[in-house]
Symmetry: C2
Subunit: 220 residues, 2 copies
DNA sequence: CTCCTTACTTTGATTAGTCAAAATAAACGT
DNA sequence: ACGTTTATTTTGACTAATCAAAGTAAGGAG
């Protein structure tokens, strides 16, 4: 069995390569895993030996099909656990990522399947992040964000791509949860400010950086 | 935070001293944890340094109040998780011990509290094992067993003190679950056989060793 | 009392995962 | 093209947890 350290390495590689086939840089991986770069080099060489990754020295690293399989399974556990914590245990959506970070390594495939059934086979977690299917298919659709969308068109919020408790709390308190309707009333590149407005609410100012973490779709 | 290894050592010390204040032998701990005795000696000395246990060289080891506190919290997690797996996820009661062995180290106190509420604050797990209270109180009542009880009196099954899947499966298939009514029709010390009979069922033969793992109470 | 058995402890080695700091390679700017 | 910056790799050391095997202490059996 893969240790939880190995599972974390593989999962973060998957997240950092977001669908595509690009190489993940050692630095980015070190940053994501909160370890020093030398540690990543060492671990990646071990993961290459065990056939989970392909290591291109001084360029980066890429998951093999075997490594991707493991990573998808861990990510599926992570996101289904988040669903469980929010929908069944009624926990705060800002707190569940930390919990799931541990639980993703502790639940068996058997428990995973039963959780999935209990929850009614959800396709996204509470943050709108897509849940890999049991067969290992992961939705990789690319969405616009509040920083890139057209102004004044009605939008639907799809996903929040920042798991930090602070940001999620901010999003929640301003009613920008996945599923909500919103539109951008103004975007000023010079000041770096975006103004968003819910159908029945006062305008809300966001930095471009923050707006870029809120994925949207044109309202149907 | 205590590592999961430390949590396992402390939990098993608690289980091996069953309520009382007796010293736990190093050999028994090694057996329970499936490690060699030398490993236990080393770990116990470290646990003594961290104030979790008191080590009497060549005699045994005992939990300090601090160590007992940790152990009770882990045991509470273990048994509540078992309840969840059986009552909510409908898993087989013979399989949940293995699952809980991992999960007991991965769930936070916050999740623990919410699970407890979801399950309606149960007092025992699916095997009849008492669940330590949030305040650290553990029921230490001593029960008779099918090997020690009086013959022909009506009994109620309270608890099964063997977590092995084989034994639990056997118990389940013969309807000896906690809560069921039963009586001992015969006990032969020479042959080491006990015969038990449910109100509406044919007689069942058990070894004294097996009968001793089934705790009972006189039916009310 | 002496020897033996048994449980326990010690010692030395191993594996997984990590960091600090030095070494190296590639890219980059002038 | 040359020196500089930056990312990556290497090296040496450390912690937690483990085992194998050798050493030691106590408690009987005679
Ligand atoms: Mn994790
Ligand atoms: Mn999420
Ligand atoms: Mn455990
Ligand atoms: Mn149990």
């Amino acid at each position: 069995m893969a240790t939880s350290t190995v599972e974390n390495y593989l999962k973060h590689m998957l997240l950092l390569s977001e669908g595509g086939e690009e190489l993940v840089s050692m630095g980015a991986l070190a940053e994501a895993l909160a370890v020093v770069p030398g540690t990543v080099t060492t671990m990646v060489k071990a993961l290459a030996d065990s056939g989970h990754v392909e290591h291109r020295p001084r360029q980066g690293v890429r998951l093999t099909p075997a490594g991707r399989r493991v990573a998808l399974n861990v990510l599926r556990k992570h996101r289904l656990v988040e669903c469980f914590l929010v929908n069944v245990l009624k926990m705060d959506w800002a707190a569940v990522d930390t919990e799931a970070e541990q639980l993703e390594h502790a639940i068996s495939d058997e428990v995973l399947d039963r959780l999935d059934a209990l929850l009614g086979h959800p396709e996204t977690d509470p943050h709108g992040d897509p849940i890999p299917s049991r067969q290992g298919k992961l939705d990789s659709q690319v969405y616009a964000t509040l920083a890139t969308c057209v102004v004044e068109k009605p939008l639907r919020i799809i996903r929040i791509t920042d798991q930090s408790a602070e940001f999620l709390l901010f999003v929640e308190q301003n009613g920008l949860l996945p599923g909500e309707s919103v539109r951008v009333t103004e975007r000023n590149l010079a000041s770096g400010l975006v103004t968003a407005k819910k159908t029945a609410g006062r305008p809300l100012a966001l930095s471009l950086a923050a707006a870029g973490k809120i994925l949207i779709q044109p309202a149907r």
